[in-house]
Amino acid sequence: MSKEPVAVVGIGQTHHVAARHDVSIAGLVREAAQRALADAQLTWADIDAVVIGKAPDFFEGLMMPELYLADALGAVGKPMLRVHTAGSVGGSTALVASNLISSRVHSTVLTLAFEKQSESNAMWGLSLPVPFQQPLLAGAGGFFAPHIRAYMRRTGAPDTVGSLVAYKDRRNALKNPYAHLHEKDITLEKVQASPMLWDPVRYSETCPSSDGACAMILTDRAGAARSPHPPAWVHGGAMRSEPTMFAGKDFVSPQAGKDCAADVYRQAGITDPRREIDTVEMYVPFSWYEPMWLENLGFAEEGEGWKLTESGVTELTGDLPVNASGGVLSTNPIGASGMIRFAEAALQVRGQAGEHQVDGARKALGHAYGGGAQFFSMWLVGADEPAS
């Protein structure tokens, strides 16, 4: 029996900001969920199941928040699942929801991811003082910066490429009303003059800490037929993982990322991603990850990703816009960040991205990664129902 086609018919986000002191976590997720329901013109009663994701519980110190959020998400009397795959969780949460529909377990599923970073301790919540180990901790930036240096050495990329990505993403964010950072007076010079935090990573090349939630309504073919707006169709989706560290691990271009992309492209019938995919929302928490993932995802040959960035291909006006929404560099409610990538990809192929719409986008890739570059989740969405 063939799989049921899956359509995205509702998308909702909060206006992401540094701190939402006016709402509880329940109030925060509620906003995103209601916007998604309104977009789909559905009510709580139309939802068969809820699939929720967030980053580790110890970020906010709230254990199993999904239990107390059941009321806020209309999940009482319905199946509710929590997904957890570190920073990639927003993506894998959407994929679990999608699989519930493609397997015909449910018809219409609400999927949602969130983080309230203002009430969390994401910097040190996972950096525990483990006994007998050397207390040498450098936070997330310190973990990823050496891999960025390795990329620069391996490819010979000029050291300005990271600042170009940050400058582009922050300008794109100005066109996205939901983005957290709206730096109206941003200039390339300001990015390049910002303080070095974890050399080679500058302050303006890192993601902010945001409070936010993102929700999507996924449904089957019959649900799509009732949708008031054009749906985005899921053409392929996959997750892959690998250990944090092992002999032979390529931190610059992890094998699990390559395998995940290959699986998605196979499902979607993509043979030349650079030509066939119109826009990408990829998880770039530090600017240099744009050229790194361009290679990992097959948009450029190994060692060539930075050339796409440098030549303007990934600009909103380029022929492969990357992070038209402003990306993780402009908005980072950690647990939600992956789902925002997936949702923004869907907005693009629905033609509903507003000012940051990529002209004529028909196929878009949403990408997320997490942990020590060890969990990957991706989906490819299209404006047309996939050929079965």
Partner: protein
Amino acid sequence: MTAASPPEVLRAPLVVEFPFTRSLGPVQSAFLTGLRERTVLGVRTGDGKVLVPPVEYDPVTAEEIRDLVEVAPTGTVTTWAWNPSPRRDQPLKTPFAWVLVKLDGADTAILHALDAPGPESVHTGLRVRIRWAGDRTGAITDIACFEPYEGKTGEAAGPHEGRFADMVTGIIAPARLDYTYSPGRAQTRYINALSERKTVGERCPSCHKVYVPPRGACPTCGVATTDQVEVGPAGTVTTYCIVNIKARNLDIEVPYVYGHIALDGADLALHGRIGGIPYDQVRMGLRVEPVWTEGGRYPDHYRPTGEPDADYDAYKELI
């Protein structure tokens, strides 16, 4: 003759603790501020039930609910469990009963502690009242506990605006996890060897890669690593970053260099601080050796050996 007993596996306490903050939203804000003012608030649902403590969204209809009502500080125990040995931060220091109390005017029960002389004095249906804390801040601990009460039944629920002067909008919610940590047999061997200033990795019998530190199994092949192999002491800086942010509870001055160091004979890099050289002169390929301090369990940092830098091709597979 008996076999030598294996060396004891290391163990140590590990406490993880943060004072998390929590924004309350409108309903919890009214509830906790109310407790400060000795007023217990519930919320009325679409089908007319009064929930105490109140919630923001109707469990039946999923609609937002804001219809606050005041209930009595007296109620009835609906079920209970005796707690013979109170733990740290529990409401009472002496043995007490955990109780679910349905306050007069409420349709649901609230969990709290009952101060009672012993389990024989507690029963379902027992009438109780709130004992208010002397110093109230707008927290669930403003109810010190419940106590047995022989008086009349409280009034039915009445509407309440939920507004007070100086509303509490956020609380601090400390979270604390108490673990006993053990690094396991393989890492115990590694740590014990370090105390003799030796770095001992373990080789995978299948792929022959040498893991430092060892984890007891090869993550690629999924088999136990048994062969112990001394590596180093010198190694090569494969990549690094210069840290300019001071870490929490860490007594290292910034900037410092956080390096990945592939010790000679190891098949993956470990992480360490590079010192003994100005931070801006550290480079990929730099040859380094460990610097030990008296009584240290691990090298304090790594410093240049003075050898020529390693050729990129010699370590590029280890990055």
